[in-house]
Symmetry: C2
Subunit: 243 residues, 2 copies
DNA sequence: GCTTGATGCGAACACTGTACGCATGTCAGA
DNA sequence: TCTGACATGCGTACAGTGTTCGCATCAAGC
């Protein structure tokens, strides 16, 4: 090999790259850019190629830091569980308020990241991720200080999380459809009106329920409905604390 | 064009097909074959091509009866809601038993069709499908005769369905993973042991809960946990009926 | 017979996840 | 300073995806 490997007309710009000036590619950067992409464009827009491009990298470079797309999604799901806020276990008398706050926090995560509900079914609840385990431990502490024994606290936690996930799944799926339609919620509902009327034709009770909420603010209704469920669950749990 | 379009050596077997001897392709046949395919091989195995092949048809023929894959999935989801059994509204005093039966029925549908949970998030709850609306009407009737007013019955129904969907989502995702692993549940748990111990290292309460159920039958535990949640929800609802 | 409308399907397109092998950059030790 | 080992990035390629389009075939009605 010749000693001089430079091209005939050397130039700083011709050299590949002086140094690795960026934080390079890392699992963390990949996961958080994936979340940004998902928040901005939804689940269908997430491909290894599109994500790679956003990171200024080739599609296949990601595979150095992530085993495959499924693993990436597990990481992404655990990451957003990290946004959950569970109050410290404190005054046992205020356990209802604390649990309610945790539940609202989980709901708001899902509404902030509505694509999440379309991967919960593949990932389960990502049972072993560090963030989910951390939050579970804190929620469990809340219930234990409220007075539940070890095994029952676990069941109570499952009940609470299942309710929040189930409720927000239907909310988030609806909101994602709304976003895809590009219309305002009122326009969409107006547009769906004939189909809805036809579907409820032979169902007087559903019609009655629906006309009872006619004209109210849909967002507030969702909020109230969520709160109603939490309140009933807490009522049901409370009967176990003082027989 | 020449009058004789037959090939030089005509034959019955050379002719495309004598008659349309099969029930042909129809939306119903497509949907039920899709469910068979999903039950047998899971969500990843469902492609328009694989489904077409199973029906003895080309992939693109399906598009004559179904707008696209998303619509097919909506139809499939509504179809399995049709398997739900909701008791007739009868004795108001037995509303807890009736609601419990409906909830168990919904759970068993999801466990029979575990792939469903990975599409709930895309489809919402398929709000306008004929089967779901029919079952909702029946569940609503149950709650109305139990004594709930129109608007509250609606919220109670949302609470119940959200809980069942949320709980079974995590169950079904776990069971799907179990099925993919090809191992028995005991083998899988043994195999996951080291990872689980590492994940729970700094979480004493989770460890305590987990060791409390060590050695018990996992299937029965899931059943008990589900029942616990339903009971608490019904307790919570009951406080609203007799103040 | 001829026309019309519904149905099936082969070919093609743009895209997907990912395996493989090569090039490059970093660093430890001689 | 040279050398080997290793980690990282990426171009290429492959099998498979959902879906569009235009052409062939059928049944029914005039």
């Amino acid at each position: 090999m010749p000693a001089d490997q430079q091209p005939p007309v050397p130039s700083v710009w011709a050299r590949p790259r002086a140094k690795r000036e960026q934080p390079a590619l890392s699992r963390d950067r990949i996961v958080s850019e994936a979340i940004r992409l998902l928040d901005a464009e939804g689940i269908d827009a997430l491909s290894m190629r599109s994500l790679g491009t956003r990171l200024g990298a080739g599609a296949t470079s990601l595979y150095r830091h992530v085993a495959n797309k499924d693993e990436l999604i597990e990481l992404v799901v655990d990451q957003i569980y990290g946004e959950m806020r569970v109050p410290d276990a404190g005054d046992p008398a205020r356990w209802r308020a604390a649990v309610t706050e945790a539940a609202r926090s989980l709901r708001s995560i899902v509404l902030r990241h509505p694509w999440a509900v379309s991967v919960f079914g593949q990932v389960g609840l990502a049972h072993l991720g560090p963030n989910l385990t951390r939050q579970s431990e804190r929620l469990l502490a809340l219930l234990r200080t409220a007075g539940f024994a070890a095994d029952e606290a676990d069941q109570a936690m499952n009940l609470l999380i299942a309710y929040v996930i189930g409720m927000t799944t239907s909310e988030a799926a609806y909101l994602a459809m709304l976003a895809r339609s590009g219309q305002s919620e009122q326009d969409l509902l107006e547009h769906l009106r004939p189909a809805a009327e036809h579907a409820l034709r032979d169902h007087p009770l559903l019609r009655e329920s629906q006309s009872a909420v006619q004209g109210k603010d849909p967002g507030q209704l969702r909020e109230e409905s969520f709160t109603y469920g939490i309140e009933r669950i807490l009522d049901g749990l409370e009967t176990r604390l003082r027989p």
